[in-house]
């Protein structure tokens, strides 16, 4: 019996209550256990990735009830990869949260953090539509807690909006599930795929309604225009390490779109034609455009970074919306890049805000400005998709994949112009924040070197060393993603291939009986 599949969900589910009950009053112990938990999660993620890499799809029938009657977890390359990404993202973020003292500015940070991880991993692993809803709720409510972590009137106000908008989304999710169940009489995704494929014609109208509602829910999570409005205010006002963690939440939406559209409402399923394909691509292009414009138009670094997140989601969704195997390969590579890059950008933004506030305007110089500006430069390069970091490769992949698309010109134009605007915006922000500051003092004092601190200005973090280490870790992740792009794309390609042959998934889940 292979219990590894459920481990990414059970581990945090046990660790978090333990932290609450036993370690409630010991921050140091909380930190130790929290980090240990994330490391353990990383180990588990590596294990299951190794298991899935072989290409066979592992199914875990919870409660020992056969699908589709019980709930199943399904481990294929995609879900394994996403869980791995989650763990890889979580480690530097938790370290940074500790180093920056964010976890001490409110109660229960680590417990909520692990509950969030549980929700995300569950969403990636489950093979049951309603169970997906439950895990969405878990990760959402944990995110509500993390987003309002530490309080503060503006943050709380943003929190109200965030929660209200997402509650609408959850309601929509229930409407969708209800409709789908009422038509097909099942909740298991594989079973759903089978039944949707052979739906009698007199039921297509209602089925299509259910399908489109479901896709809309995922689009809200993925911040697709015009359903992205929840993102800027909430990410910009959340504690920025938390916002960095949220980089994975939009990916949950993208993952769900990818999963459902390859498995259930696939390209060759006649019934649900044109539900997403018709509008997702233009919407994705708009998302990228609005994101890029937002980067140039923001007056606050956190808000700007939030728009970076939107822009990279736009690029990702363009790749997804092409629905070809090559494009999906590009999308899978880009998911990794965009998650790490966005998170990196948020952490750097937190460094800046801790030192000089977030206004994109000249102010007095900051501590370790050399180091911070270097990191900002790296993050900006990654965000704008400039070489030598993985963003450039990702962009090339998407462009290359789009070349046979109908409106390849539009896609290319938007992506390239979008990155141009992004470059201009980030260059503007960077020069204003890091270079303009030298006007504040009259004598052009020597710029501190990348590896030495300005003695006069102390770093705001309790533990700057660890903070920078965490961020360097993320940078290293991007570098690795670039250097080993070949193997990474190899895996991504196999994953896309697996996604585009859903029969294996279905037969693995339903034991090939249907």
């Amino acid at each position: 019996m292979n219990h590894w599949i459920v481990a990414p969900i059970v581990l945090p589910a046990i660790l978090a209550p333990f932290i609450i009950m036993v370690l409630r009053y010991h921050l140091d112990l909380q930190r130790i256990f929290s980090v240990a938990g994330v490391v353990a999660l990383l180990g588990i993620a590596l294990t299951i990735t190794a298991q899935a890499a072989g290409g066979d799809i592992l199914v875990y029938e919870l409660g020992d009830w056969p699908a589709p009657f019980g709930i199943v977890l399904v481990l294929d390359r995609l879900s394994a990869m996403m869980v791995l990404l989650t763990a890889l993202l979580a480690l530097p973020i938790v370290l940074y949260a500790i180093a920056s003292g964010w976890d001490d500015r409110g109660k229960h940070f680590h417990a909520l953090f692990h509950f969030q991880l549980m929700g995300v991993c569950g969403a990636f692993l489950t093979g049951d539509a309603f169970n997906l809803f439950v895990f969405f709720e878990v990760l959402l409510i944990a995110s509500y807690g993390l987003m309002t972590h530490g309080g503060g009137s503006v943050r709380l106000k943003a929190g109200v909006q965030y929660v209200a908008y997402n509650l609408l989304g959850s309601t929509l999710f229930l409407f969708a599930l209800g409709t789908l169940y009422a038509v097909t009489g099942t909740l298991n995704m594989a079973d759903l795929a089978v039944r949707v494929a052979e739906i009698p014609p007199e039921d297509t109208a209602l089925l299509r309604v259910g399908a489109v509602l479901l896709l809309l829910v995922f689009c809200i999570k993925a911040a697709v225009l015009p359903l992205h409005f929840w993102l800027p205010a909430s990410y910009a006002n959340a504690p920025l390490p938390v916002a960095a963690l949220f980089a994975i939440m939009t990916k949950v939406g993208a993952y769900s779109i990818l999963r459902v559209d390859t498995l259930v409402f696939g390209p060759d399923v006649a019934v649900t034609q044109g539900l997403l394909g018709d509008w997702l691509q233009p919407a994705a292009l708009l998302t990228l455009a609005v994101g890029a414009i937002g980067i140039l138009g923001s007056q606050h670094i956190a808000r700007m970074t939030a728009f970076c997140a939107i822009a990279s989601m736009g690029t990702l969704l363009i790749a997804i919306s092409l629905f070809t195997e090559t494009a999906t390969t590009a999308a899978l590579y880009y998911i990794f890049h965009s998650t790490l890059a966005t998170a990196l950008m948020f952490l750097v933004a937190d460094l800046v805000m801790g030192r000089r506030g977030g206004a994109i305007a000249p102010t007095a110089p900051m501590a370790q400005s050399g180091l911070v500006s270097a990191l900002f430069f790296v993050g900006a390069i990654a965000m704008a998709g400039m070489p030598p970091l993985s963003g450039f490769i990702g962009k090339l992949l998407v462009l290359d994949a789009a070349r046979d698309a109908l409106d390849a010109n539009a896609i290319w134009a938007v992506i390239l112009i979008g990155s141009f605007v992004t470059i201009v915006g980030l260059a503007r922000a960077g020069t204003l924040i890091f270079w303009k500051s030298h006007d504040a003092q009259h004598n052009p004092a020597p710029e501190v070197d990348d590896d030495e601190e300005a003695p006069t200005l102390p770093a705001p973090e309790p533990n700057p060393g660890l903070a920078f280490t965490a961020i360097f870790g993320m940078v290293m992740g991007l570098v690795m993603l670039t250097l080993f792009a070949g193997p990474a794309l190899n895996y991504a390609g196999k994953t896309a291939e697996q996604l585009f042959t859903p029969e294996n998934y279905i037969s693995a889940v339903l034991g090939g009986e249907e």
Partner: protein, 955 residues
Amino acid sequence: MSLFLIAALPFLGAVFPALLIRAGRNAAASAAGLTTFLALMGLLIHIPSVMRGDVVTAGFDWIPVLGLNANFMLDGLGFLFALLILGIGLLIILYARFYLSREDPMGQFYTYLLLFQGAMVGIVLSDNILLLLIFWELTSLSSFLLIGYWKHLPEGRQGARMALAVTGGGGLAMIAGMLILGNIVGSYDLSVILQNKELIQASPYYMAALVLILLGCFTKSAQFPFHFWLPHAMAAPTPVSAYLHSATMVKAGLFLMARMWPVLAGTDAWFYIVATTGLVTMLIGACIALFKDDLKALLAFSTVSHLGLVTMLLGFGTKFAAVAAVFHIINHATFKAALFMTAGIVDHEAGTRDVKRLGGLRQLMPITFTIGTIAALSMAGLPPLNGFLSKEMMLEETVHTTWLHSHYLVPGLALLAALFSAAYSFRFVGHVFLGPQRNDYPHHPHDPPVGLWLAPAFLVVLVVLIGLNSAAIVGPLVAVVSSAVIGGEKLPYYSLKLWHGFTPALYMSVVATLGGLFLLALHRRGEQLWNALPRPEAKVIFEAVIGAFTALSRWITDTLHNGVISRYAIILVAFTVGLGYYAYTTGTIGPETREPLPIQIIPFIGWICLVGATLAIMWFHRNRLLSLVLIGVVGLIVSMAFNYLSAPDLALTQISVEVVTMILLLLSLNFLPTDTPWDSSAARRWRDAAISVVAGLGTGALIYALMLRDFAFPTISEFHLANSYKGGGGTNVVNVILVDFRGFDTFGEIIVLGIAALIIFALTEAVLGTNVRSYLLNRKPHWPQSGDSHPLMMVVATRVMMPIALMVGAYIFVRGHNQPGGGFIAGLVVAIAFLMQYMASGYTWAIERQRFYYHGTIGWGVLIAAATGIGAWFNERPFLTSDFGYLHWPPLEEFEWATAILFDTGVFLAVLGAVMLALDSLSRFAWQPGMAQEFPMDINPLRDDSKDEDKKEQA
């Protein structure tokens, strides 16, 4: 040395200066110098093979999926440029060591410089156009850093941003062009692409690829109309200007045009685009240069002009022109770099670069004078210097060029440009070094230390030698490079001699020289004329455009995301309804297959109450208490409906949740304003109402359509009904589904509840940690409080009911598996039992008697549930596999046990703890001093006066 190493060395070396700067400026400089020297040596090793015309290659597959392979090749062209980059780089490093002042962070400087150098070498060595793109954009980035090196100068910032925007933007266009090119050929490897001239030029995408690639080249090489960024890049320290903006980076565009020459050149499109751009650039650059007073600006525009010259030659598309282009690239690199360094020296020693404040430095700085003059005369194209030779070849070629059937246009304009360039070259000499000595120099000028003049001197020596005996010195190089440019075909006849006899070119040179002197004589008048002319200031325009665009984006962003969530919600609802409708209409729907149930009178009355209450809420929503009560009514009817429609579990859950929610909302309303003011116009309200009605109709119609149709397939719940008892050991199927079939959902759900409680607790802590606490302590409640806050009857009643309620809870819990009930409902019932104590006897009283902590309760709940699940692992079953059996204890009758019960216990505890923690946290807001002293059944006389106090205050 492997080509990898040559390309990689600068990048590897870039680390050292930043680290070694502590060891002193010399250490940093020599580290940089050594790196460059090694790379240069590595390059020179390849001389024999290159001169043989072989192509050295090295490479490995990096990203095969994309066709992006790390392939490098070294042929004549690459060799020449690599030589320029590394050779001049070495000189610049030497020069910069003495040029940079003590305040400047030299470590950073050399790091950036080496990064740039590596990127440049990468460009000229890469055999894969995608790889080339990577290095291409890298040069833009590193030049951004170098131009903005003096961070305290606003010019530096703007120049850097402008350069990045223009060259980076061009690079993006080039990405598209290269991708198209690669798609045409089916490979991104240059060696393959260069073999496919016919294929490329025949392709319908040739034009697109050409234009996009040329955009990249023109922006990089500062060709008209993109020339404006280069002069502003001169805000960089002079070594940077000399290196990037005359010798190397701006030549990257030329390099690429030369690289692509074999496959792209030779068409009309190529000729008219490239040659014309080059010609115009050459002319405009030369003209502007004549009227610049800043030495570096003068040189910058002359660079623009000479780049235009080479571009034009490449544009001609003839082999001879290609040779001339190659030759001029070499010559220009030598004399222009020398001139920049000279300008730097003058600036450094005389303290100004303004021609108007200079002059007469001849005696003061003899060495500099000699160097500068020779280089300038070469730039002017005077024999016997190398500038003369390539200019001759250029003029010679123009004579044979017709532009739209006109034989005179090209030569004429070229002559004009040559004339201007002679003029500004003379001006450089005349107005800086010649003329009367002045006594108002900012510093006292004198010749610099040898470190500063060594590098330019070396270059000037080359200038002279090449001029005197070019065939011997650079002849072979030119030959091999040219053959690389023209794609290995046979070289045309050319001779690198000073004297070709009385050719048209010679006459043109003479005219140019004399005209140049003449213009210089008229310079003052010409200047007045020039200043009188209205000229667009590119920088102003650029900044204005960018500024306007920034403002526009700010406006778009802020209007789009204006923080009004009601608008976001409207968009969401409208979008959803619209797409839903579209999805519905594009499908087909069959007739109803189910008989509707008859409407009985009682449910109808219930329906009327429900609808009435709902509409009343819409109507009276501004009175918050009333609308709360109405919500309660709705919830009540909903739960009754559940019960009526044979869902007793739902009914029980709904009603108990209802009670708890109501208490929660009442408690919170206690702190919120009592009513909602009008703050949306009638029109807005009608719009909202319209949208809401549409959405309501949608959902109503949808569920109506669903209810009157059968499942398309047998539903999976038939399995649940069939297996609930034999598989799950319970007769209440709903409960069995919750704790067994879909226990995992329940597991997630109690975690949601637990998280909710934690958040509420954390928020309470956060809020009470701020000044809000004092506000809460001193606030006056909305309504005057009653005299006895704990009415006798209520206290007694609740305390009597407590055990009963607990027992009911226990009962509901135990029967849950077989009859309506279960963990949730039990948890809620017990929670309500406790809440009654809170309400009746007061928070303080209840807390004092509390024996357990809610955090623990939640934690235990989750842990027990999880443990039950994990228990299954030990008998080789998946998570949450339940087990059950029957015990028979006489005299009791058969008694059933199921691990699901244990799971349900977890649910029970989690629900109980969550609810209690939530309300407990909330009621901590209400705590005020004075409450502690009261005990249940006390009467607090003060409270009765509070009304009067209120009156007094109002009076």
